[in-house]
């Protein structure tokens, strides 16, 4: 039983990380109708910035904050310089243009930081595990990730639902032309939204850095999962992204945890170990395909344009 709870926590943590990445993506897609493949590059930059600043300032937290700011700035600059020219164009144009940006950022990172990647160590106070239930020890840092992501989700909810800026964002997502016609400075709004999305991606990147990786191209695998999440959740819907991300995180983790044992009943141990992770990945894509066939607008669609 404890094992199951632990695995659920693992799934929740992964799902929340996915949510941070997907939230930015769905905002940008929903409001500016922009398919941004370079979102994964912003995720990568967040991790690299954090590793660099943490090394300079000798503080994990300070490094993380500086990295967030840096990613925000890079995101906004990217929007102003390159991406705003793609608004209103065919999705294929977006895909191609931002695919080119992935190459550019990978090479830029290689140029600046070298090909080997970096590492980001956790501060000592985050390493020892915490006993959250009698007999159940869970790594402190992962709890920190869960709490931080939940706080950010709450912040986003308040921002989008309860502030004027959020109202403009929701208006822009529902009906772009009308919002522009009402005299709102759409350009500035778009830049800010993009910056917010970039910061969220950077946050996801830097948070996973100590336990996973800081390397070139790290955004590519998780980017696809983020797209799956926003399709399932509904493009433009942060609530949808939240639910879908947790769903995907749980499926992936529980699948990897318990599927091998289930499969061992019918396959060899080796076979089970090979097939199980593949099957749990397949389940996620199957879920997306089913959602697309049955409810093409996603689980929580934003009202039509």
């Amino acid at each position: 039983m404890l094992l199951f709870i632990e695995q659920c926590l693992n799934g929740l943590q992964f799902g929340l990380l996915l949510f941070l990445l997907a939230a930015g993506l769905t905002l940008v897609f929903g409001i500016m109708d922009l398919v941004n493949l370079a979102h994964g590059s912003l995720y990568m930059l967040g991790a690299y910035f954090a590793a660099t600043f943490a090394a300079w300032t000798d503080s994990f937290v300070l490094g993380a904050l500086l990295a967030l700011a840096a990613t925000l700035v890079v995101g906004m600059a990217l929007e102003v310089v390159a991406l705003r020219r793609l608004y209103g164009r065919d999705h294929l144009d977006h895909v191609l243009g931002t695919f080119g940006l992935i190459l550019f950022f990978n090479e830029l990172v290689r140029l600046v930081w070298g090909p080997a990647g970096m590492s980001l160590s956790l501060p000592m106070w985050l390493i020892p595990p915490v006993e959250i239930l009698p007999g159940l020890f869970y790594p402190t840092y992962r709890i920190a990730i869960i709490l931080t992501a939940l706080l950010v989700a709450l912040f986003l909810y308040v921002l989008v639902m309860r502030t004027r800026l959020g109202m403009l964002v929701r208006a822009g997502a529902s009906n772009r032309e009308m919002t522009g016609a009402l005299g709102v400075n759409i350009s500035l709004l778009y830049t800010l939204v993009f910056g917010l999305g970039a910061a969220l991606a950077g946050l996801a990147g830097l948070m996973q850095a100590p336990i996973l990786t800081v390397q070139i191209g790290m955004g590519e695998n998780i980017l696809i999962l983020a797209f799956v999440v926003i399709i399932i959740g509904g493009i433009g819907s942060i609530r949808g992204a939240f639910i879908a991300a947790i769903l995907v995180g749980l499926i992936d983790t529980i699948g990897r945890a318990f599927l091998p044992d289930l499969l061992r009943l019918v396959l060899s141990s080796r076979g089970a170990s090979t097939v199980a992770p593949a099957m749990s990945s397949m389940m996620i894509y199957l879920l997306m395909a089913i959602v697309l066939v049955l409810r093409p607008e996603g689980l929580f669609p934003v009202s039509s344009k």
Partner: protein, 331 residues
């Protein structure tokens, strides 16, 4: 269809002549690697041409086209491993399985549009990718080495580099011709019409879904054959061939070369490969006067130029290279 002596037609003619001459040149200079290199270009050009049918002419942005390269490749690899090394068995299986999978994906996906279509084709491609990763018996993630090339009972010897090259070239030319004929027929008109305005086409009375599905299946089948060729060429197949980034590469070739043009995708394949070889040299040569030895290191980062180049093509040269040659801006 009289061939006028336009710049674009001249370039295409010269390109085809050069491609035909590659093995001869390679024999003279004793550089067999040239043949290896261009065989790959031709096979990928064939795959890109098949994608053009649905992407360029049909407006169906399939982000899972590389999956047919994988299906064709695994057909050859798995059959070879199980003892069936005859090309007469392997290649039809490659084409058939690819066609069936395209039928399945198309039937389920073609009801959607825009980004949803892109994502659902991606989803199916990833399904197959992960299925390949789970194939424990056939190498899983590590891939499968293919011991012998497809055997054709003495009619052809695929292990002979030159014979294999000309076979691929012949198949490429047949593909280009086939697709050009298709596109200029009534079938092609319906596909292209459905791309601009599907509702109107249906209002006129065309069952566009059926037409588009057929195009989708044809594209998949041809790409499956390309996959069988690719597996023979590299002697190795792994799920990585089917990764979504490979589908991205194919889309780049089509758009860079010129969508909705017969030779565009081939030009795109050649261009992409040439850029991969030429950009480093270009950077090194132009940076040398200023930076001396450091220019060699700078040349290693050539992709930093390639990336923004895609963006520029998207923004300013929508018709691709073929469009530039023809002096017409498509959009």
């Amino acid at each position: 269809m009289t061939a006028a002596l336009t710049p674009r037609n001249v370039v295409i003619a010269v390109l085809m002549l050069l491609l035909a001459a590659v093995p001869v040149y390679a024999a003279v200079t004793a550089n067999t690697f040239l043949v290896t290199l261009f065989t790959r270009v031709i096979i990928l050009g064939m795959a890109a041409t098949s994608l053009n049918l649905i992407l360029g002419y049909g407006g169906m942005v399939s982000f899972g086209h590389a999956v047919y390269l994988g299906i064709g490749g695994y057909a050859v690899g798995i059959l070879a491993q199980e003892g069936a090394s005859s090309g007469f068995v392997q290649w039809p299986v490659a084409i058939l399985v690819s066609a069936l999978f395209a039928l399945l994906v198309g039937a389920l996906s073609l009801r959607t549009r825009g980004v949803y279509f892109i994502m659902i084709t991606l989803a199916f491609a990833q399904l197959v990718y992960y299925f390949g990763v789970g194939l424990d018996r056939y190498g899983a993630d590590d891939g499968l080495t293919i011991g012998r090339r497809s055997q054709f009972a003495g009619l052809l010897n695929l292990s002979d580099r030159t014979q294999f090259y000309y076979l691929c070239l012949a198949l490429l030319v047949v593909t280009i011709y086939l697709i050009a004929r298709l596109v200029n027929s009534r079938f092609g008109m319906v596909i292209q019409g459905a791309r601009s305005n599907d509702r109107r086409m249906r209002a006129i009375g065309f069952p566009t879904f059926r037409y588009r599905l057929t195009a989708f299946v044809i594209a998949g089948a041809i790409c499956g054959l390309a996959g069988a060729l690719l597996a023979n060429h590299t002697g190795f197949i792994s799920p990585a061939t089917m990764h979504w980034t490979r589908s991205g590469d194919l889309i780049v070739m089509v758009v860079l070369g010129g969508m909705a043009s017969s030779f565009g995708p081939l030009i795109g394949a050649v261009a992409l490969l040439s850029l991969e070889e030429a950009l480093p040299v270009l950077i090194r040569v132009s940076a040398s006067p200023m930076f001396g030895d450091a220019a060699v290191r700078m040349a290693e980062y050539w992709q930093i130029v390639l990336g923004p180049l895609f963006l520029l093509v998207v923004l300013f040269a929508r018709g691709g290279i073929d469009g530039l040659l023809a002096g017409v801006r498509r959009g």
